[in-house]
């Protein structure tokens, strides 16, 4: 029996591999709603410290060069600001300087209301290795207070939401992923719809009928509906509007507000029900 087994070892191995594939497919049928498993989280926890180090080593020269350039620019900026400072000191005695100070304080208060105190800044350490998904891993997790379905934004606009959380890291599902969707509103005409990811660096503004007033170059913002994303953050800009064959709906293509490939840091906000 054993002789037969060892003689045909490669055949048994191949059969075992194919059976494992069938088991995975069957497991998916019975656990369709599970986004992550303990096995997946354990693998991430083991892998990510190494990935973080390698990413840091590879990006270190570029970051160093950028820092040197930034220092040079800051030097020029300091010189310019010193001259400007002299003239502003003179203006302080004037009534207009008080008005500009008030205006500046109002902007600060508005920014503070958009970014609640519990917002966390997070660094991207790894991108999704599969060509079919759009996500990345950041260096903050449950220990830092991050929860699943927390909205993620950058200074350009909405980036996505937190999909999975481990103690020290989190996976963010980007808006452009085909499984992503967000409720949007046209800033100009206030037409609401659902922004859908396509898997590419492009979004679609769906569930908008032909008669609705959505035009090229319209900015689409998050509407706040749906309970995940806060309202008022930029999602993207309308690029093209095409009528569907039945003539009842339109297909609206959007360019995202955020350049996902150039992201280095993002902000993770607490879930909407925590601070609204």
């Amino acid at each position: 029996m054993l002789k037969f087994f060892f003689k045909n070892l490669s055949g048994f191995f191949l059969a075992a591999v194919l059976l494992a594939c069938v088991w995975l497919a069957a497991h998916r049928l019975s656990h369709r709603n599970d986004q992550s498993t303990a096995f997946k989280n354990l693998s991430l926890n083991l892998w990510l410290p190494f990935q973080k180090t390698v990413t840091w080593v590879i990006t270190f020269p570029e970051n160093t060069l950028n820092a040197v350039r930034e220092l040079r620019n800051l030097r020029h900026e300091v010189d310019r600001l010193q001259v400007e400072n002299q003239s502003l000191r003179l203006e302080l005695s004037n009534h207009k300087s008080i008005e500009s100070e008030l205006s500046r304080l109002q902007d600060v208060l508005q920014l503070k209301s958009k970014l609640p105190r519990q917002a966390k800044i997070a660094r991207i350490i790894a991108h999704d290795p599969s060509t079919w998904n759009s996500s990345f891993i950041v260096d903050v997790g449950a220990e830092d207070g991050v929860q699943p379905d927390s909205p993620v934004i950058s200074e350009q606009g909405v980036v996505g939401r937190v999909l999975e959380v481990t103690p020290k890291n989190s996976r963010v599902l980007i808006l452009s992923d085909s499984d992503s969707s967000i409720s949007g509103i046209d800033e100009r005409s206030r037409v609401t719809g659902i922004v859908l990811g396509t898997g590419r660096n492009q979004l679609k503004y769906g569930y908008v009928s032909v008669s609705e007033d959505v035009q090229k170059d319209d900015v689409i913002l998050s509407s706040g509906l749906g309970g995940i994303y806060p309202k008022g953050y930029a999602i993207g800009t309308v690029v093209k509007k095409v009528e569907t064959e039945n003539g009842l709906n339109t297909e609206i293509e959007m360019a995202p507000a955020v350049d996902y490939a150039a992201l280095d840091y993002v902000f993770i906000l607490p879930p909407v029900d925590v601070y609204e």
Binding site: G11, L24, A25, H27, L44, P129, S130, T131, S135, E164
Partner: protein, 160 residues
């Protein structure tokens, strides 16, 4: 290549695979490894490497564990079967086989996602697949050049 060397290559590939530049171009480095190893291994070994790399890719990805496992296992089997019938120690032949394998891999992933109900719409699938197939084949052409030269120098210096 001995097993420890292959393990080091796999680890290096996955570190590179998660960098923004690679992710943006849609290059599938683990698939490249599966095809190049499969072309030089028995069917069981090709399937084993495909299973392992597909599993690693799905574990580190946002999707469920399955599409890359199944697709890369079958691609590994396909590559191992191809070595019996197609002479491979030429850059063009290897690049062509990588192109065909990448196309096969993407078709299998799409079919699995279609069965699961999580496939994007056909226009987006076509764009995603073509991007991956051509970018991986391009990188495969460069890698094949070095692999063929190395193997010729090592096993058949007269043709190097």
């Amino acid at each position: 290549m001995k097993i420890p060397q292959q393990v080091l290559w796999v680890l290096a590939l996955f570190f590179l695979q998660q960098l923004p530049a690679v992710a943006e171009w849609g290059i599938d480095l683990p698939l490249l490894f599966v095809v190049l190893v499969g072309l030089r291994s028995p069917v069981a070994e090709g399937a084993g490497w495909g299973f392992l790399l597909g599993l690693m890719q799905d574990l580190l990805s946002a999707g469920w564990i399955g599409p890359n496992v199944i697709a890369k296992t079958l691609t590994g089997i396909l590559a191992s079967m191809a070595k019996k019938h197609i002479y491979r120690e030429k850059v063009f032949t290897q690049t062509f086989l990588i192109l065909v394998s990448a196309f096969f891999h993407q078709t299998v992933v799409w079919l699995v996602k279609l069965w699961d109900g999580s496939a994007p719409n056909s226009g987006d699938v076509l764009w995603l697949s073509l991007r991956m197939v051509f970018s991986t084949a391009l990188v495969g052409m460069v890698v094949s050049f070095f692999v063929v030269k190395f193997r010729r120098r090592r096993f058949d210096p007269a043709t190097a």
